[in-house]
Structure formats: structure tokens, C-alpha cells
Symmetry: C3
Subunit: 155 residues, 3 copies
């Protein structure tokens, strides 16, 4: 990591910033998708939320679990479990001074795999589409972690 | 991001460090609040945890779901879903060299919105208080992401 | 944080990179452990996932909640709630220029506590082992946050 001060101004760091921002924005859209499904399916977690829809009827019946809402929430949680590690390890990876082409390959494959994962999850595409997308994203992050540990190991 | 090496020593970066640390500490307090509610309401997820309260009675009945515990846990998960993106995008935003006043505005509005969100969630304040706090935080992060992507785009 | 540009090339930053990568990799292994338990216990969240095991029988019965899978998932969520704050606050802490020995102490204690936490959670070790591991990790992160706020406070 000797060249780190130079790297932070580099194309690799700009590329990391771009792809990290895009994939984090994608993750944040899951919040809006959950809200959308909760409103349209009228399925809420909190009694006080039900008056976002209608305040006249017996509102307790809208505090319920809906399978479509739960599906979006599982997708969101999977994003948290995979995109955050990518951002952390990707930042450290960008500081190790990798080739731009290798760095772009890692960032593009990861971000692409997570978009495929989201579509496959929300639309319930038959397996192994989602499992493959998940695995490819995981492998990409492991590959970056390998470079960080072989370049910067200090125990 | 040309001025990034200078920015990392700047007031903007110090401000980011301060507000990011404060809002992450707030998020971590949700863990302690969950633990507190689990102890006082005697509602645990794991059988081995029940002897933290009493070891004499039939302990299996304390492995149960409590609505107040679940409320705090939902608030905590919402923090993870929103505060982590703020930290990631806020770090990259701080490196793009924004005006200090604009940066402070973003950081303060976001952190303020999350404190309001937590109080509104835990105390079940009538909507749309919580929805507004959530939306303002989301918008602040989107606004920072917009600057990152327009300043540093490298695809 | 005046010495930050120098710190990012320092042993403290290399140590942070190493320990952050190790503990994030540990967190990612929880995904694989969840997948392993889902396959062996035949307990899935989505109907489309059940054909990863067998496609002949009535597959709906494999969409179910299994206590061992849920235990691993709770451990994974606890990792997210604790390891991500460590990474964020640890990065800012590394930039404040702490002594190498103090920094290593923080990083090693935290990472060690999370490995103990995982073993204690997955194997249902009697309390207070897991509670102590959780508390030690929390305290380590609070200690780093204290240094960040006393060194870099800018409100």
C-alpha cells in the first residue's frame, strides 16, 4: 500500500466511487420498494403506520405479514449482507493500487451480479439464477480481499 | 476528486468524521436498547439466554416474541438500511471537496432526521412523523450521491 | 487529524486493513453457513429455492422455518450490527494517528471477541460467554469512537 496517497486520486478510486455509489443507491431503492408494497398490499408492521392508507376501518387488520413484502425485505437484507462487505473490501482494494482494468472487472462484475440478483429475487426467477448471481458477487469480493491481504498484511 | 488529498485533512472531513461517528453510535445504542427490553420484558430468542434472568422456573416460556422488543429491532434494522449508506456515500462526498456549509447542512439534516426517526419509532409517534424523518434522511443521501456521481463518474 | 495523509500509509492503516478484511470475511462466511444449513435441513424461504434440493416431491413443505437456520441468521445479523460500526469507526480512528500498539490492541480484541461470539452463538454455549464477547466488542468500538470524537470534533 505504499502508493496509497497517489491511488486515492486515481482512476481506480474514481471507478470505485462510481460503482460503490451506484450499488448502494440500488440497495436504498429496496426501502422504497418495500414501502410501495406495504402501501399497495396494505400490510404494515406498526399500528401507527396504517393511517397512511385509511383511517376509518378497523386498522388492526392491516398489521400483518404479506409474502410479497417479505420477499422484498429478504432481498434487501441480502443486499446489506453482500453490498456492505463489497464497499469495505473494495475501498481497501482500491487503495492497494490494482491495475485499472482488473479493478473495473471486479467492480462491474459485482455490481452486475447484484442487479441480476435483485431482479431474480423480486420476480422469483427459477433457480439457480439467483444462487449464481449471489455466488459470483461473493467470489468477486473474496478475490479483492485476497489482494488486500496479500498486499497489506500486518497482523 | 482532484483535490482529494487536501480534502482529507479539511474541515469537511473532520465534520464527516464527527457526524458519522455520532450517528453510528446512535445506531449501536439500539443494540443496548434491545438487550434492555429483552431483560425487562423477559423475551429472548435463544434458550441459553434465559438464564441471564432467572434459572429456576421453566425457562422455555421466556423464548418468545415481544412486540416492544420487535419494535426496537425494526428501528435498528431501519438504521442499518439508512445509516450505512449515509456513511459510505458521505465519505465519498466528503472527498469530492464540497463547500463546508453545504456539507454541514447535509450531515446535520441527516443526523437530525435519524434521531427524530428513532424517537418516533420507539415511542410510536403518530405518522407521518417517522415517514417524513425517513424520507428526509433518504433525500439527503441521494443529494450527496448526486454530487459524487456528477463529480467523479468513471464507468 | 492533521497527520492523516501520513497515517494512511502507516502501519496503523495496514493493520486496520488486515483486521477489517479478516472480520468482514468472517461475517461473509455466515452467508455460506446459512446456505449450508438451509440445504442440509431442507428449510428455505422461497418456493423457487426448493428445487436446489429435490424437484420430485411436494416442494411447498420445504418452505419452512428451521431453528438452526434461524440461529445462524441471528448471528449474521448481530455481525452486521457490530462489525460494520467497527469498520466505520475503526477507519476514522486509524486516520487520527493512534499509537500502533494501542491500535493493534483495539483491532485484535475486537476481532477476537467476534470470533468468540460466533462460536458461542452457533454452538449455543451457555451464557454469559456470548454476552461478554458482544460487550467487549461494543466497548472496543466505543473506545475508538471516543478517540475520534476527542481528536476530530467539528460540529
Amino acid at each position: 500500500m505504499a502508493e496509497v496517497v497517489h491511488m486515492i486520486d486515481s482512476d481506480v478510486f474514481l471507478a470505485f466511487s462510481t460503482y460503490a455509489t451506484i450499488v448502494v443507491l440500488k440497495m436504498m431503492l429496496m426501502s422504497l420498494m418495500t414501502a410501495y408494497f406495504r402501501m399497495t398490499k396494505q400490510a404494515f408492521s406498526n399500528l401507527e403506520d396504517t393511517n397512511l392508507v385509511k383511517a376509518t376501518e378497523d386498522r388492526k387488520k392491516f398489521v400483518r405479514v404479506d409474502p410479497d413484502v417479505e420477499r422484498v425485505r429478504r432481498c434487501h437484507l441480502n443486499d446489506l449482507e453482500n453490498i456492505i462487505p463489497f464497499v469495505v473490501i473494495g475501498l481497501l482494494y482500491a487503495l492497494t493500487g490494482p491495475d485499472l482494468s482488473m479493478a473495473l472487472l471486479h467492480f462491474r462484475v459485482f455490481v452486475g451480479s447484484r442487479f441480476v440478483h435483485t431482479v431474480a429475487y423480486v420476480m422469483a426467477v427459477p433457480q439457480p439464477t439467483r444462487a449464481l448471481a449471489f455466488g459470483i458477487g461473493l467470489f468477486t469480493t473474496f478475490s479483492m480481499a485476497y489482494r488486500v491481504l496479500t498486499t497489506a498484511l500486518f497482523l
